[in-house]
């Protein structure tokens, strides 16, 4: 039984690796992934603005909502200019599914426990998105304007990660 599970896990890991190696995301998919990642953080920020009573946490959430909306507006303007239609894909779907679960989990918390869970998740989320941008999305992007926007996104989100870490430090 354990052997079977281990084999299934190995296969799953191996297949994911192959799938990723064989199919680098296309520009329409990259645009969709980046936009989805922004929407996810805006939703989390809106929840924080509604739930938190901590001024630093609320200010951070307002910044996330504002900055990610600015990048997404720019992304929409760019795909329109390029005549590209963002294309839904398994990575976007998986991001959205995890984020919906995380929002439900956070919704059950209140006060200091909520603040800490939200900010800790922001640190982890920005780290994951930054890694995806640096390792997969930016190298795979073909269009120079899209690549440049993703690079701006990476600089911005790295700053968000540092800011989230600073806020996390004040919550301990």
């Amino acid at each position: 039984m354990i052997k079977q599970i281990a084999l299934a896990a190995l296969l799953a890991v191996g297949m994911t690796g192959i799938a990723l190696a064989a199919d680098a995301p296309t520009d329409p998919q990259i645009a969709h992934i980046a936009y989805t990642a922004g929407v996810i953080d805006i939703n989390a920020a809106q929840q924080a603005i509604a739930k938190s009573k901590n001024a630093d946490v609320i200010a951070f959430a307002q910044e996330m909502a504002r900055d990610h909306a600015a990048v997404n507006d720019q992304a929409l303007a760019l795909v329109k200019k390029l005549g590209v239609t963002p294309e839904d894909n398994p990575v976007s779907q998986s991001l959205t599914k995890s984020a919906t679960e995380e929002l439900a989990k956070l919704d059950k918390l209140d006060g200091a426990a909520y603040d800490k869970a939200y900010i800790d998740n922001e640190v982890a989320y920005h780290k994951a998105v930054d890694a995806a941008l640096a390792d997969t999305l930016i190298p795979s992007a073909q269009n120079a304007d899209l690549k440049a926007l993703l690079q701006t996104g990476l600089t911005l989100f790295t700053e968000h990660e540092h800011h989230a870490e600073m806020v996390a430090g004040t919550l301990k």
């Binding site: 504002r66 900055d67 600015a70 990048v71 507006d73 701006t152 911005l156 790295t158 700053e159």
Partner: protein, 109 residues
Amino acid sequence: MRIWQSLALGLALSAAMAGAMPGLAAAAQYTVVLDKMKFGPVPANLHVGDVIVWQNNDLFRHTATARDKSFDVDLPAHGQGTLTLTVAGTIPFFCKFHPGMTGQLVVSP
């Protein structure tokens, strides 16, 4: 007599101009550009009374905020803010929203 009067008037005018001139000559306006999540070069030889216009070319709202809290200028996306230097010293500053964005003003009296 007339000569003395002229001289006196001349001296008085010079004194008035000399009094006014240093202030006018010293006050200068500089622009610091924020672009791609960075503060651009900060001018050298800043003096109390000089004005800094912070020009934010980014998509994102920033601030120019002194570490010692002596100033805090809000900079809307694609907007600008103005700071008149009122104290001398070395003043590190940063963006409250993106703390990796930093710089330093060195202000002479």
